[in-house]
């Protein structure tokens, strides 16, 4: 069974038809990249998986999105509980204006966990997983806003890992970072694959080729092609994909 499954998903922003009949399955413990030119709907589609589109007025989603076989757009689903199981990392690092420690502990605290030792352990474990521990272990009380952009983004990943989601959605996680920070994030994605199912939206084709197992190419709200990453980049079935990955448009 696929970890994530979309069945004929259509999405409208008011009059605008932003996603057109998208169906795809994503396997557990894999990295899937969504590529395509700006405005093609890849971020919008990513945000369907944790219902972040609910925050936008006039946004309507039709079709089914299944996670472990359960439709998350059914009424009896508790959106808040659902989002706890699906981590999300955003384009711009967005740590809370709190200390490094409190950022990572946030997800546990809102679940009512306040046991000091457990929090300490989880904070350390998550920061280690996000490859940030060695850089911040001596100033966990410092404001997260004092960190560099790359460190902030890894902190946001640690914050997500602390609540042990099964899926991590990444919306262009490295687009605001310098090459060294980007390399660290990519390495991290590679390490996290064993335990998590990762979906990453990226504008950077090399990045998609480096980190992902499968790649989906979107264009004008449609899923044009979805295949193993090596096929997409070396032997795509559709001409539009070929044109995009070779840089002829987009």
């Amino acid at each position: 069974m696929n970890k994530l499954e979309a069945k004929d998903v259509n999405l409208h922003y008011g009059e605008k038809h932003a996603l057109k009949g998208i169906s795809m399955g994503i396997k557990a413990n894999s990295v899937t990249a969504f590529i395509g030119p700006s405005g093609c709907g890849k971020s919008t589609f990513l945000r369907c998986f944790n219902r972040m589109n609910d925050l936008i007025d006039n946004c309507r989603v039709e079709g089914e999105i299944l996670i472990d076989g359960r439709d998350i757009y059914k009424n009896r689903i508790n959106v808040v509980d659902h989002r706890k199981k699906i981590g999300m990392v955003f384009q711009k690092p967005n740590p809370f204006p709190k200390s490094i420690y409190e950022n990572v502990a946030y997800g546990l605290r809102i679940n009512g966990i306040s046991h000091k030792k457990y929090l300490d352990e989880t904070v350390e474990k998550s920061l280690r997983q996000a490859a940030l521990w060695d850089e911040v272990k001596d100033d966990l009380k410092k404001s997260a806003l004092a960190l560099s952009g790359g460190q902030q983004q890894r902190l946001c990943i640690a914050r997500t890992l602390a609540v042990e989601p099964s899926v991590i959605l990444m919306d262009e996680p490295a687009s605001a970072l310098d090459p060294i920070s980007t390399a660290k994030i990519e390495e991290l994605i590679h390490d996290l694959k064993d335990r998590y199912t990762i979906v990453i939206v990226t504008h950077n084709m090399q990045q998609a080729a480096r980190v992902s197992d499968n790649t989906a190419f979107f264009y004008l709200g449609e899923l044009i092609e979805y295949d193993e990453t090596s096929n997409i980049f070396t032997n795509p079935a559709k001409e539009a994909t070929q044109n995009y990955v070779t840089g002829r448009f987009g």
Partner: protein, 292 residues
């Protein structure tokens, strides 16, 4: 010719803007001169430490503390009303309310600040006080409690509108981060948005406090004219502003010590609000730096 015209216009504009600055300087100079004269007759130590204020009696005592306590007491009650209500309204408008609803409600709330304060004063005296007296028989006819409560309602929009502005200025990415972590609306509002907007919220509260300290008509009408060093809100008290009104409207001769006492009281009031405004100005700058 064109050049001369430009020069004239520039001069006119300069004069216009100087008027406000000169007025402020003029006020400060007058306050300072009269206060200086006042302190020739009254010891400055007695003024700031004395616990009796009886300038209009035969036995004159000039201890400002009863007036300060009256001012702080009514202000404290007002903030006790305005802070929780104002913050709740701000959070509701920012996080829960429909955008169209917010567009209607926010200006409507600001009308509260536009009601003439003398109306609030009589509302406190003739409506709130009798109602409170039916619960609290010992409540005086003129009292700090009802004046403070009504003043609290008046300053709600200072807290709610400005706090809402501060909340709106928090980048949307933080809200997304909070919801993405599986926060409820309440958690998003109180654990992420409010802390992120904290300096703006503090500015709004400080300005509301300044407004309450300087408020005159409500306390003059409803709180009484009995300078009394007390923090019991059921009593009749007198604030600094009320005292100034009382003397200005009475038949105290110019250049008498009673007359000069209002300048000393005025400069105390000015000092209080000046400090608060500076704190809020400083906080505001800090806030802008952080998010831009």
């Amino acid at each position: 010719m064109q050049k001369v015209k430009e020069k004239i216009i520039e001069a006119i504009l300069l004069i216009c803007s100087s008027i406000t600055v000169l007025t402020t300087i003029g006020i400060i100079i007058i306050l300072a001169i009269e206060t200086f004269q006042f302190f020739k007759d009254v010891s400055i130590v007695e003024f700031f430490t004395g616990t009796e204020w009886t300038p209009l009696f035969a036995n004159k005592k000039f201890g400002i503390l009863p007036l300060v306590s009256g001012t702080l007491l009514t202000t404290f009650i007002a903030i006790l009303v305005a802070l929780p209500l104002g913050l709740t309204i701000a959070v509701y408008l920012n996080e829960y309310a429909d955008k169209r609803f917010k567009a209607v409600i926010k200006p409507l709330l600001e009308v509260l600040a536009a009601i003439p304060t003398v109306v609030y004063g009589f509302f406190a005296l003739t409506f709130i006080t009798p109602i409170l007296q039916s619960f609290i028989p010992s409540l005086a006819g003129f009292n700090a409690l009802s004046a403070g409560l009504v003043m609290g309602i008046m300053i709600i929009p200072y807290v709610s509108s400005m706090s809402e502005d501060a909340l709106s200025a928090v980048p949307n990415s933080l809200r997304e981060a909070a919801y993405g972590m599986g926060s409820t609306r309440l958690q998003t509002a109180f654990k992420v948005m409010l802390p992120a907007a904290s300096s703006g919220v503090i500015v709004s509260v400080i300005l509301a406090i300044s407004r309450a300290i300087g408020e005159t008509m409500i306390v003059a009408v409803a709180a009484g004219q009995e300078p009394r060093l007390t923090f019991n809100p059921l009593n009749s008290i007198e604030t600094i502003t009320t005292y100034i009104v009382q003397v200005s409207m009475g038949d105290v001769p110019q250049n008498s010590i009673e007359f000069r006492s209002i300048f000393a009281a005025g400069i105390t009031l000015f000092g209080l609000t000046f400090i608060l405004n500076n704190i809020s100005f400083w906080m505001k700058r800090k806030f802008v730096q952080r998010y831009e």
